[in-house]
Each structure stands twice: as structure tokens, then as C-alpha cells.
């Protein structure tokens, strides 16, 4: 029998943005006459968003996916404009407003390679992969290590389904994921002294946890490039840099992967990187977070509020630097 316990951070469904209002918010904004102001203030955004969504996406018919109601929020969803114009994607530049540069990323054709400790190595076309997976929508909080946060409706599938699809051997202990590393369209690679490609990793227990999610879309449509199209990781109990974007390779291994940020600054960005307000970043406090687009500062929650799902994963790991 499924018994639903109400968790501390949950809000009644009535407080969440109604889906109809959410999907029609552009019309709403236009009706309010704000569209003119928004367009004049950020013409680049409108153009970029147009470019990203006007190209026909071969999986567009799968959106919007049915929402999984297990995951609810304690705050309103972040405006789509904020979530799609304030992004860290260092392959395209070190500023937050790389959404225009990111439009140069060719997301079709796109292949994902599965290798390492798997029954059989394989390279899969992204559209075949997405169509084999059980797509659903989940509302998650997202907490960046830079002490800002957002609340986003991701579309995608449980990472557990991806692991089952890959058929790893029992000896595999970690999943290592890698972003594209092609210098032609992404200016970041010109700074070759940084440890490209972007790499991230999870333990097998983390990867097969219910919360670990692979994103293919956001706000009810396919993923914009700046948010990590066509395939990205979403681990809401960890700092955002763990949620690697635009994945091209998934390797099962018994060696703990060393991530891009860990290579740059192991003291500041470790393997575990679980959210904890009590453990400051060496250069700033993690006690609270600025919620994108609201002007609000909220107290940060341990495990970003997802302790019921994930705290148990770390019972035997107290000696590790779990929160860096």
C-alpha cells in the first residue's frame, strides 16, 4: 500500500501555479501589455528563444509530459525567462547570459555513447533513446553553489531507467558522464588550459535513487540549448554544477570520476557536493539562497529539502566530505 507522508517542505497543490495559467502565461503577459516592455528590454532573449524553439524537434510530440505528482514545491515556479537566460555553461563563456552563444550548439544529430563496465558498449541516437524512456514532468528546486536557486518543471525520465537501459556489470561502482568537447562552435574550449571536457559523476546508489533524473525538456517543451539540450543530469539535492549538461558519453566504472570543477578547485568543488546550509563554501556562506527573479532570500535546506529521498544514501559515508 502506498502511504503518502506530507513532508515538511511540501505545499498544498492549491498553492502551486495552476497548469493552465502556467502554460498560458505568455498570453497573460501580453494581455497585460508587458510583452512590449519585456521585448524592448531583452530583444536577444526573444530572438534566441525563437531560434531554439522554431527548429522542429523530432521529439516535440512527447511534450508536455504528464506531471509526476510525487514531487511538489514549497515555492512558486521560476519564470521561464529567468531559468533560460541566467545560466552557467562555461563551454559558451563565463558570463551568465550565454543563452545567445549557446544557440550555436548543434543538437541533431546527437549520439550518446555507453561504455566501460557494461554488458555491451553501444552508441545510441538521442531520439531513439528518448522514445525508449518513460517521460514525465517533475517540479524540482535547483540550488547553485553560488547561492542562488530556482524552481523548475523538468521533463525527462528517472536516471534509474537509463542505468537499466545501459546494463552495467555488477562491478561498476560509479557513473561518469561527459559533455561534448568540440571547439568549433563553443568559444570556451579556446581557453585550452581549463580541464575540458566537462565531467561529472555519481555513485551507482545515487544514480539509481528515485530523485536522480535525466532532463530532456523544461517548461513543457524540449530543452533549450543553454539549459543543456538534448540530455542533461538533474540531481536536485546536490549543487547545480553536478547536474552536467549536453551529455555525449556515459561510462560505468569502478574508479571515482574526477569532475571538471574538482580538477580546477578540489577544495571548493568536491565529488559529493550535497547541499548543506551549515557547511560554507570557502569563500561564502551557503546558509541562504537568492531565488532567481523574485528578489527574495530564502534559508537553504539540508539536501536542498530532499533528505527524505537521499539522506539514507550516505549513512555509511560520514568520513567523506559530503557537503563540498
Amino acid at each position: 500500500m502506498f502511504i503518502k507522508r506530507k513532508r515538511g517542505w511540501e505545499i498544498p497543490e492549491s498553492e502551486a501555479t495552476p497548469e493552465a495559467v502556467f502554460h498560458d502565461r505568455r498570453k497573460l503577459v501580453q494581455a497585460m501589455g508587458l510583452g512590449v516592455i519585456a521585448a524592448s528590454a531583452t530583444p536577444g532573449f526573444i530572438a534566441a528563444a525563437g531560434a531554439a524553439t522554431s527548429a522542429p524537434d523530432p521529439t516535440a510530440d512527447l511534450y508536455p509530459a504528464k506531471r509526476n505528482e510525487t514531487f511538489t514545491l514549497d515555492r512558486p515556479l521560476t519564470a521561464e525567462k529567468d531559468a533560460t537566460t541566467y545560466n552557467n555553461f562555461y563551454e559558451f563563456g563565463t558570463d551568465k547570459d550565454i543563452y545567445q552563444e549557446a544557440q550555436a550548439l548543434p543538437i541533431r544529430p546527437w549520439q550518446v555513447k555507453f561504455d566501460g563496465m557494461v554488458e555491451k558498449e553501444m552508441t545510441v541516437d538521442i531520439d531513439d533513446l528518448i522514445r525508449k524512456m518513460p517521460l514525465e514532468e517533475r517540479l524540482y528546486r535547483h540550488r547553485c553553489v553560488e547561492a542562488w536557486s530556482m524552481a523548475v518543471p523538468w521533463t525527462g525520465f528517472p536516471m534509474k531507467a537509463l542505468v537499466e537501459f545501459a546494463k552495467p556489470k555488477a562491478s561498476a561502482k560509479y557513473v561518469r558522464m561527459e559533455t561534448f568537447s568540440d571547439a568549433k562552435f563553443a568559444p570556451g574550449f579556446k581557453q585550452f588550459w581549463y580541464p575540458w571536457p566537462y565531467v561529472e559523476g555519481l555513485t551507482m546508489a545515487e544514480a539509481t535513487n528515485d530523485l536522480a533524473f535525466i532532463g530532456t525538456g523544461i517548461y513543457g517543451h524540449p530543452m533549450p540549448r543553454q539549459n543543456g539540450a538534448p540530455l542533461r543530469l538533474v540531481t536536485p539535492w546536490k549543487y547545480g554544477f553536478k547536474s552536467i549538461k549536453s551529455i555525449v558519453k556515459i561510462t560505468f566504472t569502478d574508479q571515482r570520476p574526477v569532475s571538471y570543477w574538482e580538477k580546477l578547485q578540489a577544495k571548493e568543488y568536491g565529488f559529493w557536493a550535497n547541499v548543506n546550509p551549515e557547511v560554507p563554501h570557502p569563500r561564502w556562506s551557503q546558509a541562504s539562497e537568492r531565488v532567481l527573479g523574485t528578489g527574495e532570500r530564502k534559508p537553504t535546506l539540508i539536501w536542498n529539502g530532499y533528505g527524505d529521498f537521499v539522506a539514507g544514501l550516505y549513512d555509511g559515508l560520514k568520513s567523506e566530505r559530503l557537503f563540498v
Binding site: 568559444p187 569563500r283 556562506s285 532570500r297
Partner: protein, 282 residues
């Protein structure tokens, strides 16, 4: 002294223009905020913009004396004080915006300044600027006399701290902090050379040229050395992008171009002087 009047009390249009220009970045940020032009985290963006202008005004203030001597432009010194005082005003806005970002929880602001070393460094620089601003009225300048010059030399220490604060807050992007550090080397180098080799208050063009080249070279070596130490990247490869421009215009060529530009302007100013006064070439 009223900021837009010269020493004889007359209205000085150049001073008035500089005085008004100093308000522009703050007004721009203040106007951008309600228009949503500062992005999704507007306070953070405003803190960064105002902090950057603090640094720019401070460096411009420090550049006035060398430029006055190299360009033989005595009246340039008229805007030095207002640049320095503007740097102080901007650093106060910078701190106030930081406090606003912490919802004016002043206990948190104080504990963060005490706990995070780059904030501590920035705060010490702010205290230094406050001391300099407080001793910038006509009366105090007169009363302190020679000691005023000695006291105001701490501006070089403050600029050094500001550089470190700027480097430490940056996560990955170090392009502009590296340029600032290179220009800092130029400023320090000029003061040392002028102290040792200036004749009748002027440093020969050859020295100024050499200083520009040295500052550019040290910037390149510093950058390559840093990536070698921290990321174990072949320093020769990093050095080479300075002249191949494969990674865009790197900091060292920018510092070099500024140094060479100043030397060139200085040479032109020297050449166009009446022949009898060229003796300072040495």
C-alpha cells in the same frame, strides 16, 4: 573646494565634465535596475558593476600623476581628488548593496566580512579609502602639508588589496582581473622609476617605453605561471596565445598596448615642445 571650480575659483568646464561623468555608472545601474536590465539576479549584478567602477576610478586616480608627467599635462591633476573621492563613494555603494543582498542583516554582513578572507581584504581596502577621503578637504590637506603626501601613498596598498579582492571573488574568468594586475605593475613600476631616474620631474621616453614592455611581459609570464602551477598546463602553450590570438585578445597584449600607447603619446608631447625645454629627455 567646489569640484567644478579651478584653484582661482573660476568655473572649469573640463572639471565639470569629469565631475558629472563620475555619476554616470551609478546612475546607469540605478536606472537599469527597475527596467530589468540587470538580469535575473539584479543585486549581484549591481554589486559587481559598482565594484568594478570603484576599481577603475581608483586606478585612474593613481594614473593621474604619471600621466601628468609623461604627457606634460599639469592641469590633469585637477581631477585627481575627485576621482579618489568617487572611488570612496562607489565602494560605499558597493558595501551598501552587499548589505542589501543580505537583507540588511548587519550581523551576517559583519560575520561574513570577518569569515571570508576576500571580503576581509576588501573591507580593509574600504577603510583605507575612507581614511583618504576624510583627509581630502582643502583645510586638512593644508594642515597635513607634507604628511598628506606620505599618508596618501597608502592608495597604492589599497589598490593592491582591491586587485586581490577582485581576483579572489572571480570563479573562473580572470581576464579583466589579470589586466588590472598588469596595470598595477605599471603604476608601481612608474613610481619606482620616477623615484630613481626622473630628471626635472620627467622620466625619459625610453624608460616609459621599457616600462610598458616590462608590464606586458610580466602579465604574460604571471598568467602562464599561474596556469602552470595550478593546472599544470604547458606554460609555453599558454604564452603563445598572446601572439597567436587563438583565444581572443589575452590580458598581456592589452597591458602592453596601454603601456606602448602611453609611451607613444609621451614621445609626441616631448617632440612638440619648444626645443629649449627638451632637456628632460636625458
Amino acid at each position: 573646494m567646489i569640484p567644478w571650480r579651478d584653484y582661482s575659483g573660476r568655473l572649469s568646464p573640463p572639471k565639470l565634465i569629469v565631475f558629472l561623468a563620475l555619476f554616470a555608472p551609478a546612475l546607469w545601474a540605478a536606472a537599469s535596475y527597475p527596467l530589468g536590465m540587470l538580469g535575473s539576479r539584479p543585486l549581484t549584478e549591481a554589486i559587481h558593476q559598482i565594484g568594478l567602477w570603484t576599481l577603475r576610478f581608483l586606478f585612474l586616480a593613481l594614473a593621474i600623476t604619471p600621466l601628468r608627467d609623461i604627457l606634460r599635462w599639469p592641469s590633469l591633476v585637477l581631477v585627481r581628488r575627485m576621482l579618489g573621492v568617487a572611488a570612496f563613494a562607489y565602494v560605499m555603494i558597493h558595501l551598501t548593496l552587499y548589505a542589501a543582498d543580505e537583507a540588511f542583516d548587519l550581523r551576517k554582513v559583519a560575520s561574513e566580512i570577518a569569515l571570508r578572507i576576500y571580503l576581509t581584504i576588501g573591507f580593509v581596502a574600504l577603510l583605507g579609502l575612507a581614511a583618504l577621503a576624510a583627509t581630502s578637504t582643502d583645510a586638512i590637506v593644508r594642515r597635513l602639508g607634507r604628511r598628506w603626501s606620505t599618508l596618501h601613498r597608502i592608495a597604492y596598498g589599497i589598490a593592491g588589496l582591491a586587485c586581490i579582492h577582485y581576483f579572489m571573488q572571480s570563479k573562473l574568468e580572470q581576464w579583466e582581473p589579470t589586466i588590472v594586475a598588469g596595470l598595477y605593475l605599471w603604476l608601481i613600476g612608474y613610481r619606482l622609476l620616477a623615484w630613481g631616474f626622473a630628471k626635472r620631474g620627467h622620466l625619459a621616453t625610453g624608460w616609459v617605453l621599457g616600462l610598458g614592455i616590462a608590464a606586458g611581459l610580466l602579465t604574460a609570464l604571471g598568467e602562464a605561471g599561474w596556469f602552470w602551477l595550478v593546472l599544470h598546463v604547458d606554460p609555453m602553450r599558454v604564452l603563445s596565445v598572446n601572439w597567436t590570438f587563438q583565444a581572443g585578445v589575452r590580458p598581456a597584449p592589452v597591458v602592453l598596448a596601454i603601456g606602448l600607447g602611453i609611451a607613444l603619446l609621451g614621445a609626441i608631447r616631448w617632440y612638440r615642445q619648444p626645443a629649449g625645454r627638451r632637456g628632460a629627455r636625458a
